[in-house]
């Protein structure tokens, strides 16, 4: 084994470059979104952009530390880190600080530490570690159960914090499991379930079931000679019908009012623009008013003047859309897509299963954040309060994403040193 003199040896500069590009875009837009004449100085720590500057500097320090750690550190301590974060997630339920209905933060001096942000990283480590164990085969029921347990445990704890949005991100691990051999039908069923869910809310459920019954009947005539398949067909029909009936029940009885409203707004059932539809509508106005070229740096009015809620955190993409227009927004989307594809490419070239699975986990987590956040701001997904990686304001999330990505960069740099 060789000892590296240079911590930058063999690191993938493309990934690092994309990372810094997005961080820089983030800072510029945070600056623009809260800019006012009284506080122009970029290190004004009373303003979000001043603070973000500190978080960025810290993030760079963190990334350097990660690059300096021994290559074996994270694989070795994967379970330990995972366990530690789980303890934090439990602890925050009792000791944490409640803000905005979420009990997700430890208040340390002026800084709010959000363990759920780091839980994603820990889960990535744990699932990579578990699935890279030599004897493991994903086809085994036991493997599936343990995997879902590793993924589900933090997700459930986060739901207990009241932060459903952050827990939804754990669905991202389905990509990882799929890559490692989980049947593609799982994903397909997931997508179908979402479609059916929306349809069931929009259209009278009896019409849906009538249509399904018709399809079942047609299929029945095709396969009537094969008994086993008829069995499956009728079974799935019953299951789907049950699902459709339960959707409305779940929507009306189980979801919290604000969650219900967010879904209603998204599917167009509800158009109260002053009330619950306000956020999405203002977000669309901000982005839509940017036009092709955008209004220009610091020229945005919708975000700066507080029409858009959470304009430097969850809705930061509005500032991009308003000030940089279609061109700027597209550039950001393209940068993200390039980053995801790059990470997947790098993952595929890992020699270790651990490295590959970890890489896929990173890509999936980042992709899910990106997809949900951007889709929310342009009115394609319900309002789910999760940050846009690297761009949204916030120390915890920036550091967590930095750790996530640089641990992978470190793995990749040392991919040739076979474990």
């Amino acid at each position: 084994m060789r000892e590296q003199k240079n911590i930058f040896y063999n690191i993938d500069w493309k990934t690092v470059g994309l990372y810094f590009a997005l961080v820089a875009i983030g800072w510029i837009n945070i600056y623009a979104s809260v800019y006012n004449d009284q506080h122009k100085y970029i290190f004004d720590f009373s303003q979000n952009y001043g603070k973000q500057m500190i978080w960025i500097i810290c993030a760079i320090v963190i990334s350097l530390i990660i690059l300096m750690t021994d290559i074996k550190f994270f694989p070795t301590f994967s379970y330990f880190i995972y366990a530690f974060v789980l303890v934090l997630l439990v602890a925050v339920l009792f000791l944490g600080n409640a803000t905005g209905g979420h009990r997700s933060w430890f208040l340390i001096g002026n800084f709010k530490l959000q363990p759920s942000e780091f839980a994603k990283f820990a889960t990535c480590l744990a699932i990579a570690k578990y699935l890279s164990t030599l004897s493991i085969k994903i086809k085994d029921v036991k493997t599936k159960l343990v995997s879902f347990l590793i993924i589900g445990l933090p997700a459930i704890l986060i739901i207990f914090q009241g932060d459903v949005g952050s827990s939804i991100v754990y669905v991202a691990f389905i990509f990882v499991l799929y890559r490692e051999g989980l049947s593609g039908n799982v994903m397909l069923f997931g997508v179908l379930a979402i479609l059916l869910f929306i349809l069931a809310l929009l259209i009278n459920q009896f019409i849906i079931i009538g249509v399904l019954a018709g399809i079942t009947l047609i299929l029945f005539f095709y396969i009537r000679k094969r008994k086993k398949e008829i069995f499956i067909l009728i079974g799935s029909f019953v299951l789907i019908a049950g699902f459709v009936f339960s959707v409305n029940f779940a929507h009306d009885k189980i979801l919290k009012p604000h969650q219900k409203d967010r879904i209603d707004v998204l599917i167009g059932k509800e158009v109260d623009l002053k009330g619950i539809g306000y956020n999405v509508n203002q977000s669309k106005i901000a982005i839509g008013s940017g036009g092709f070229w955008g209004k220009g740096f610091l020229q945005g009015t919708q975000t700066k003047y507080n029409f858009v809620p959470a304009q430097s955190t969850d809705f930061i993409f509005c500032t991009v859309g308003e000030e940089w227009g279609f061109v700027g927004s597209t550039v950001v989307v393209v940068l993200y897509v390039l980053l995801f594809l790059r990470i997947i490419m790098l993952s595929e070239r890992q020699r270790s299963t651990y490295g590959r699975i970890y890489g896929y986990s990173v890509a999936s987590i980042l992709f899910f954040h990106f997809m949900i956040n951007v889709a929310m701001t342009i009115g394609l997904a319900p309002v789910i309060g999760i940050p846009l990686p690297f761009i949204s304001y916030g120390g915890s999330s920036l550091w967590a994403f930095t750790i996530l990505i640089f641990v992978f960069v470190k793995q990749d740099a040392n991919r040739l040193q076979l474990l």
């Binding site: 799929y178 839509g288 507080n306 308003e322 227009g325 279609f326 393209v334 595929e348 009115g379 394609l380």
Partner: protein, 604 residues
């Protein structure tokens, strides 16, 4: 060996790519195709703030202020911004009921959620004080300063007119006006609306989501500055106007006083009148309703311009001039009178006096018979073979005095009076079946002739000037440079030679000295006057008088009509005389007469 499931990376890459493409398509739709978001964004941020200019002031001929502006405040509401407002507290502050509140909110919403509309007009200074302190609680409400017209002397209501909220019809026609704006509705406020109103200014301001001002949009690129309205310098003499209104108290009718050398209207009284302050501000609609619904007194009716009376004997002066001009009448022409004019089945009564009379004396004692003969001569002997032609000639001469048409002056709502047409008589008597005798009452100013008091005063001005007049007008200067409309400096001549006026004025002078108008005499002032009695089929006749003073260098001419005042001498003569005394001497010596006029009332 190929690792298992490697191909699945393509599926995952495809999913990522397609999500990226969906986002870009959606962005393209939002940002490039759909324009509505840009409009919504402007509605969010931009507020168009109108700056109302101060309306021009109005002065009398001596610089006395007749109309000024007083500051007042309107409570405005922007329905979209109204959030968590304590309705009960606001209602209490501006003293309205909750139902009214709801109603007004509805109305404001129906107009527009994004554009502020007036919620409560003209808040008193005290209420404004309280409101200002608590306004921060009422999100979506704010106060806008405005001005209110005030009339310090409380005179000349008809003349000055009033302003009112602009009507929807006008808003459609003229896009300068927006709902809630004020516009001159009558009088000077209307005829000089464009000059008085000035130009509104517009400021485009940016506001944040908390309704906090964020400065001007694009450094004021789209802003315009308001221009104050121009001041009006009127021809009115406030003292004479006020005095005239006092004299006409408890009587119906009007006084018009003109400076004949310029056509400037010195006073224009229409009685009954009202305090112009009543039609300004808060109680406008209540007071307007009260005034408009008084069908008996009709205080809003400007009699000086809109009441049309038969001119009675004052019209004999016109016929005396026309007779001379057409060569059928001379100074020494004598006509008999035997208690009236009797011919065929026509009987026009006259009072008892020596007979026959010459022209001067006929005017002095206002002989009906004399002017019937004169009119007959005009129609039959003026060299036109045909009654119709002669009548048309007479008619055109009459109309050169400004009768039967409007002056095109700067007064609103003026009526034209009436000089009958040949066609009118064709209808009554059959085509060309009428003769001089059929229309003989025109000779003494009765019948179909109608005149306004303004036209009557202008007749006096023509006589005073020996044959010309200037269009009677009420504004002598506009704005700082005191511009005046050129048409008011344009001398209008009547179709009568100057030489024929002396004898008529002589008769009028005699009328004041010894005839029907002796009540007008003022010590040391030589005057010419003519009484009239306008026949009124509905009751007591109207008392009419015109007066020119002094006769040799006329400074003022006055026409007075007192409805149901009976003989000219009873009311119209002394009132005209007092006006002249006040104007020429500055104070009244005949205090008993003045007192009688102040206190006298004419029953009707």
């Amino acid at each position: 060996m190929k690792a298992p499931y490697t191909d699945r990376k393509y599926v995952i890459n495809a999913i990522i790519l397609s999500i990226g493409v969906i986002c870009v398509f959606r962005l393209f739709y939002l940002q490039v195709i759909d324009n509505s978001y840009k409009i919504s964004a402007n509605k969010n941020v931009l507020r168009y703030i109108t700056e109302f200019p101060a309306r021009g002031l109005v002065y009398d001929r001596n610089g006395k202020l007749l109309v000024y502006n007083e500051a007042t405040y309107d409570l405005m509401v922007m329905p979209r911004e109204v959030k968590n407002v304590d309705t009960a507290e606001l209602c209490k502050l501006i003293n309205i009921s909750k139902e009214t509140f709801k109603l007004r909110m509805e109305r404001a919403k129906n107009y527009s959620s994004y554009v502020p509309s007036i919620f409560e007009r003209e808040i008193s200074k005290e209420t404004y004080g309280f409101l200002q302190e608590k306004l921060y609680k009422f999100t979506g409400f704010y106060v806008q300063a405005r001005t209110l017209r005030k009339y310090p002397l409380s005179i000349a209501a008809h003349l000055l007119g009033y302003i009112g909220e602009v009507s929807p019809e006008i808003i459609i026609k003229d896009n300068y006006y927006k709902p809630g704006d004020y516009i001159g509705v009558s009088g000077l406020e209307r005829s000089y609306e464009k000059a008085l109103r000035g130009e509104k200014g517009l400021k485009v301001m940016m506001y944040d989501a908390f309704n906090k001002e964020k400065g001007s949009f694009r450094n004021g690129m789209y802003d315009s500055v308001s221009v104050a309205g121009e001041d009006l310098y009127t021809t009115i003499d406030a003292d004479i106007q006020a005095y005239g209104e006092k004299l006409m108290a408890n009587k119906r009718g009007s006084i018009v006083a003109i400076e004949p050398s310029t056509g400037e209207i010195l006073a224009m009284v229409s009685s009954p009148t009202y305090d112009p302050n009543l039609l300004s501000g808060h109680d406008w609609s209540k007071n307007y309703y009260l005034l408009a619904s008084d069908n008996k007194q009709k205080p809003l009716f400007n009699r000086a311009l809109m009441a049309q009376y038969p001119p009675g004997s004052t019209f004999k002066l016109v016929n005396a001039l026309i007779g001379q001009q057409l060569g059928v009448l001379r100074e020494n022409t004598r006509y008999p009178c035997s208690l009236g004019f009797h011919m065929g089945n026509i009987n026009v009564k006259c009072h008892s006096h020596p007979s026959p009379l010459d022209l001067e004396h006929a005017i002095e004692i206002s002989c009906n018979s004399y002017f019937c003969y004169n009119f007959k001569a005009i129609i039959e002997r003026s060299g036109f073979g045909d009654t119709r032609d002669a009548f048309n000639k007479w008619r055109s001469l009459v109309m050169s005095f400004g009768f039967g048409k409007r002056f095109d002056d700067d007064l609103c709502n003026e009526l034209s009076g009436n000089i009958p047409t040949p066609e009118h008589y064709d209808i009554i008597h059959g085509k060309n079946k009428w003769r001089a005798l059929s229309i003989i009452s025109l000779g003494i100013g009765q019948g179909e002739i109608l005149e306004t008091p303004l036209q009557l005063a202008n007749l006096a001005a023509i006589l005073a000037n020996h044959g010309y007049y200037y269009i009677p007008h009420i504004v002598k200067g506009l704005g700082k440079s005191k511009i005046i409309d050129k048409k008011f400096a344009d001398k209008k001549s009547v179709a009568i030679d100057e030489k024929y006026f002396d004898i008529v004025l002589q008769g009028m002078h005699q009328s004041v000295e010894a005839g029907t108008g002796t009540g007008a005499k003022i010590e040391g002032v030589e005057m010419a006057g003519k009484t009239g009695t306008a026949q009124n089929p509905h009751g007591e006749d109207h008392s009419v008088f015109i007066l020119i003073a002094p006769i040799n260098n006329p400074k003022i001419v006055v026409s007075v009509v007192v409805e149901n005042g009976g003989w000219g001498a009873t009311w119209a003569v002394p009132i005209a005389s007092l006006i002249v005394e006040k104007y020429l001497k500055g104070k009244i010596k005949r205090e008993d007469l003045e007192k009688r006029m102040f206190e006298g009332s004419v029953r009707y």
